[in-house]
């Protein structure tokens, strides 16, 4: 990517771009400094924040806070899978180990990516270590790393909650297209993970599908808060059941749309997983 070309193009439209960016030298110096630290993929985010500063939109704090919230959730997931994959005797088959390793690697990548993005916005990413988590949730899932079914149940809950959490935060990212798109690109990966974990549980006898039916977790009351609200069958005032004269059951109507959770709802759900 030739950054100078991009700025030159902007200069054609807005001759004062350099004044708005302080000065050409400062821009390029700042960018060169930043690009030494950040991953190549995050350069569009860095550019976005550079121009955002120049053009006076002051949503950077909201965006950084939102990304730090997402980063916190990614730390939970990453540490959970790191420990699970490393626990000998927990995961019973090579196929399952491969799938969970893939998911672990994605969550680790999300941590790195979000840290880079937050740094490029001029903010400070939060940091968590393994010792800060309690995946038994104070004893609610006491055998999480010795009972494979408990492990998968917690995994499903984390993934489904993650999908709902990102969905609930999208609106806070609308002022930065690059950040919004990156968050959406993580959001759908979490949904892919959720679908696979659900199929893994299904293969072991759990009554679940890759999608969420009603507000049924297929796990039990301990995780109900992560599923409440998924049962709705009306979207933007439109009733989805039997819509347009087609036979659409209330189960299918609820499955067809995943629902968001607020930051407060998610925080309540994940708080027990901090030591």
């Amino acid at each position: 990517m030739n950054v100078q070309n991009i700025i030159n193009q902007i200069e054609k439209v807005d001759p004062e771009v350099y004044e708005k960016l302080d000065s050409r030298r400062d821009v390029m110096k700042g960018f060169a400094k930043a690009s030494g630290r950040i991953a190549l993929a995050a350069i569009p985010l860095a550019l976005g924040s550079m121009f955002q500063k120049a053009y006076g939109q002051s949503n950077t704090t909201l965006i950084a806070d939102t990304l730090n919230f997402a980063l916190t959730l990614e730390y939970i997931e990453a540490n959970f899978y790191i420990k699970g994959v490393a626990t000998s005797g927990l995961i019973p088959s090579p196929e399952a180990l491969a799938a969970l390793t893939t998911i672990r690697d994605h969550e680790n990548a999300h941590v790195s990516f979000l840290r880079t993005a937050i740094t490029s916005l001029g903010a400070t990413p939060v940091t968590f270590t393994a010792a800060q988590f309690d995946f038994t949730a104070g004893g609610a899932f006491a055998d999480v790393f010795s009972n494979y079914d408990t492990f998968l149940a917690v995994a499903q809950t984390f993934e489904d909650t993650g999908v709902r959490a990102y969905k609930g935060q999208a609106g806070n990212l609308m002022s930065n297209n690059d950040v919004l798109t990156a968050a959406l690109n993580i959001h759908s990966v979490e949904a892919r993970h959720a679908a696979h974990i659900r199929q893994m549980r299904k293969a072991r006898g759990a009554n679940v599908k890759p999608w969420i039916t009603g507000n049924d977790s297929g796990i039990g009351p301990s995780v109900q808060a992560s599923y409440n609200g998924e049962e709705i069958t009306t979207q933007a005032g439109v009733n989805i059941v039997n819509i347009g004269g087609f036979t659409i059951s209330s189960a299918a109507a609820s499955e067809a749309f995943d629902e968001p959770l607020t930051k407060e709802q998610v925080t309540t759900i994940v708080t027990p997983f901090f030591a």
Partner: protein, 234 residues
């Protein structure tokens, strides 16, 4: 009319065509001259610069994006409706149940957009599934995978084009279900491929595509041409 006859829809051809059109425009201007000709040329150039401006107009702004989503959901719903009507040979009860669920989800999405768009909704689109062998598991699941992955990238790419927060949330509610479909279909083809490196990049991100990129991939499956030239681009 001079310009209409030279109109092409293939983006590769369009590049070369632009050279020819530039010459045509100069001839056109030289022949007529004067302000009236300039105005006419301006109108013609405007048309030239949007080579895909025939077909069903998706519209502009958020309405255009919702119609874009409606078009994709029409395609998916039509596909799974046919899959359910003519199950591939050797389909298992579990596969049939899952594919029927997906059909219902896609119909729900399609009918939702139709109802939400009301008078602004585009017409029902005619599909072209001549390249799909509905009796073949490989053909059906391969197409399903392509459609689901495409849907995910389409919604991911459209998010930033939406200006109304409620519509962004609605798109988010749907895209994660499409991603669940994509993961399941991939696992049916090859267990464990739900989020492999053909779909997910080194940063652990799904991909996103612009409307023109998506519609170019979808076009062979649609008899009805779509005009996306008024959709927002940023």
């Amino acid at each position: 009319m001079l310009f209409k006859t030279s109109k092409h829809h293939n983006p590769v051809e369009t590049l070369a065509e632009n050279e020819l059109k530039a010459v045509s425009r100069r001839n056109f201007l030289g022949y007529f001259g004067g302000a009236a000709a300039l105005m006419a040329t301006a109108a013609a150039c405007k048309k030239d610069d949007a080579p895909s401006n025939t077909g069903v107009n998706l519209g502009s702004g958020d309405t255009g994006i919702l119609n874009y989503a409606y078009a994709l959901e029409q395609l998916e719903a039509a596909f799974y409706t046919q899959v359910a009507l003519t199950p591939y040979s050797g389909i298992t009860a579990a596969e049939s149940s899952l594919l029927t669920d997906i059909r219902d989800h896609e119909i729900a999405h399609r009918e939702f957009f139709k109802a939400a768009l009301a008078g602004n909704a585009i017409q029902a689109l005619e599909v072209n599934f001549s390249s799909i062998d509905f009796s073949s598991r490989d053909s059906v699941l391969g197409t399903a995978k392509a459609f689901e992955d495409l849907g995910v990238t389409a919604y991911n790419g459209a998010g930033k084009l939406i200006t109304t927060p409620d519509y962004l949330v609605l798109a988010g509610k749907i895209v994660s279900v499409e991603a669940r479909h994509a993961a399941l279909i991939r696992d049916l083809i090859s267990n464990g491929s739900f989020a492999d490196s053909t779909a997910i990049d080194a940063n652990g991100l799904d991909l996103s595509r612009t409307p023109p990129q998506v519609l170019a991939i979808a076009a062979p499956f649609l008899k009805t041409a779509l005009n996306a030239s008024n959709l927002p681009t940023s």
